[in-house]
Subunit: 563 residues, 2 copies
Amino acid sequence: MILRIAMAQINSWLGDFKYNTDKIYNFINKAKSAQCDIVVFPELAICGYPPEDLIYKEEFLKENRHYLNLIRDFSKDIGVIVGFVEENKGKAYNSAAFIYNKRLVGIYRKAQLPNYGVFDEKRYFSSGEDFKIYDFGGIKIGLDICEDIWVKDGPINLQAKAGSQVIFAINASPFHMGKMDSRINILKVQARKNKARIVYTNLVGGQDELVFDGRSVLVDAKGKILTQAKAFREDLCIYDLDSRTLPKKKVNNKKIVKVAVKKQALGKAKEPLSICESEKLSPNEEVYRALVLGLKDYVEKNGFKKVILGLSGGMDSSLVATMAVDALGSDNVIGVLMPSQFTSSESKEDAQILARNLGIKSSTIPIQDIFLKYLEGLAEQFQGTNRNIAEENIQARIRGNILMALSNKFGWLVLTTGNKSEVSVGYCTLYGDAAGGFAPIKDVPKMLVYELARHRCSISRPIIPERVFTKAPTAELKDNQKDQDSLPPYEVLDPILKAYIEDELPMDKIIALGFDKDTVKRTIEMVDRNEYKRRQSAPGIKITPKAFGRDRRMPITNRFRQS
Amino acid sequence: MILRIAMAQINSWLGDFKYNTDKIYNFINKAKSAQCDIVVFPELAICGYPPEDLIYKEEFLKENRHYLNLIRDFSKDIGVIVGFVEENKGKAYNSAAFIYNKRLVGIYRKAQLPNYGVFDEKRYFSSGEDFKIYDFGGIKIGLDICEDIWVKDGPINLQAKAGSQVIFAINASPFHMGKMDSRINILKVQARKNKARIVYTNLVGGQDELVFDGRSVLVDAKGKILTQAKAFREDLCIYDLDSRTLPKKKVNNKKIVKVAVKKQALGKAKEPLSICESEKLSPNEEVYRALVLGLKDYVEKNGFKKVILGLSGGMDSSLVATMAVDALGSDNVIGVLMPSQFTSSESKEDAQILARNLGIKSSTIPIQDIFLKYLEGLAEQFQGTNRNIAEENIQARIRGNILMALSNKFGWLVLTTGNKSEVSVGYCTLYGDAAGGFAPIKDVPKMLVYELARHRCSISRPIIPERVFTKAPTAELKDNQKDQDSLPPYEVLDPILKAYIEDELPMDKIIALGFDKDTVKRTIEMVDRNEYKRRQSAPGIKITPKAFGRDRRMPITNRFRQS
């Protein structure tokens, strides 16, 4: 017997039940047209993920059940597995519904609730404590939800032991660099250990700081990938599972729920199938696509059409502008040059070439006159003081004000272009260059910014002028300023930051990696001291194992210093 | 036999192990001088609370043990109960150490870990699974940590059942309005149910958005308050417990740890004791003190001496300036008037009178000329558009820029003066009036702002000019602007906001309370739509059961709308 399985890798919009249900409806119909027996949707596909404190709204919980019922009612002659929030006796569960032919056959409640990193599931959900095994025309199916398959001796193991031959795992697994490898590793381990096929269906799309990368995958009992859905876009990935290839297992009859599968359905000969081709992405291409999808979805899901950003002629704004054009099209990106007396002619030129290469509208609003008016206004207060960071920041904040004025006037979202290296050490002006609704490269270290830019230019024509790659980075807030007057070189800074932030290494272990002691000490101090800036920063896209935001929750008032 | 107990209600500084240990040392010495047998410190007193992701730093965990050992070594001839983070086999516990006469007698691990509201303890800690009962010269003592006593059939009940006569509960229980009543209620219930005295020692002080109010309390087995420590300040509150008044209990001998108490210690006659007087605070005085302490500690613990704020002549800035003077003294508060063509002479006058009444330094920096320069710079882009919110926000952002320039030049912390009503509906300018390092009244609804101001003026002379109470609130960003042109009257808005935010009521239930349907709908939409502003807002002091920040974690990208 052939079980035709469809992994419906959809982009749910958080809280938009009608939109999500329409989409689920369309994917069910597509799966039916393709003669599928079962179609699987991601974790919390009906409401979107992560709902955070929306869980506390009783209307939100009710809508989950209402739309689940609608999905049940239009699921004729097909099995549907779909994630939703289940309310029961005042508790909320992260659940998977198993529907067949307009009947709710069963519900599985997630047992392992992640409560680390970006996850707060113990804040919201109660743990499921039991499971069923679904006999679908003779094939024994277990259901799991995301974390359930990551835990040693967890639900997947109990289900396999009780007789499951195929595990349908539904997921909302966010992207970071290297995440796909971790997933494949755990799938291999679990498939082998449990002698089970695993049908791993993942969410796709951006939600605030998270990007879900899709790449749903089906592995055999040896952990071999049988088929894989697309990366960073919606997909319906179909596979024919031959029941004769499944391991025979002893079944715990107490756990069995027999699904009333129509006899003719499974026996029927099906048209042959082309196997979904998995895409091989280079590490840089993977990150670039994550950033473009995260940016596109943040803009569109928040109801914006166009974005605006300052073009300084430097690398950060060049990369963000390029990504924005890739995400939204050149008609929807507006660049503004805001030169001062400290802006070099090269910077202006590079910004203009970039805008031309991207085909975006750009304009120039000099800030020098406005800056002088501020200095006049502050003359009495500043009398007798030396020029310092105060005067520099005034300029950055004038630029923030201009961008926000254009945003407020025309409804464009301001993109802020700070990278992770800057955000880590606070090398940015709060309310100045840090002003904006979204920070696409907030989690991208400066060296990776260069790599991504190089990568992007290599796959088409050189959009970003070569000089932007070679000139020394500068904020141009005073004469002859260079980033490296204030910061260690990025080749040194970035690995120290990774060791401290992502790897949580103490100072002595970072020094032991071969870095200069004073440089390490100074870097750590800068990171610690600037938590207050990050707390007020715009959200950005997580691409590393530890991003700022929900992922890293540091107190601002914090007198802990390493010695 | 008399057991002399001291509740050492200290203000720990998060991460400052040396400072905290010095303080603990001083309080132990004070307790010894007062002939105390046992002195109790709050939850996580050694490291401060809440440490958040500092828990992931191995150095932070090591310091906890190091300083615990120091405390043990100087605890001669006295029992000390103190909270710390205990690392054991790669797990972290929220623990209480019981030390006597330089020996670590035992450790209790918190079993009930709060993971709701502002709390994330399941993110950090493993749960304790057992307890001991300490026989201290014949008196049977149980240890509990905060949440342990709030849970039905929780640790306190098991301990009482196993024979504890006195429960030492150590706490880091943050303030909100009505919290003390909840504590007293639970203490009464638990004391009666468990036939045990409860020695409830709480932390005091501000930490980012939280204020710990102290008010440690000792209740008898009927729930009667025997003594109570001061509110919102450090205190050593001492009480003589007569062992003859304790209930006789059957003891589970497997749980007993006998403390080697020196014979002469407990038998000795002690000098008579004056009982700590509990303070009765009015609800407004309670909130006002919470705000002043939260502000003072944020400023000082972050290494600032002085604060600066804009004085508009309105109520919000008047109250914040007054609080700042109460917290830091008039020498440490700087006011700036930043009038435009839309600023009334009354506003300027009221701001000046306030500054004079407070005895603070103030200056005036008009923004009109700077504003005109922006309009010139934007003339081409704005051509053919009508004046709207864009021009209004430019002015607010000029003010933000000026305050930040003074902050950057002189190292003063900028206070932002937005109240909860404004922050809820987004009636504020991001990077404008919302710019600043700390937002003292962020969780104070506008009507309560007036009440607190009235209260403050009533207990001394009328610092805030009467006209500030009576004139209509206005942002003065265009001619004849009033808050109520854009918002429902605050008498209507505030209860709707409470129902929606604090009580999590759905729209229909809020309307059923008697509010106009369109007003409720519009208010909810404004709250939902402005999550992005709150995400970038400065931290402020939690005084309600649900504040913005860690307490309410809403997605920005959120298409859930109630109908």
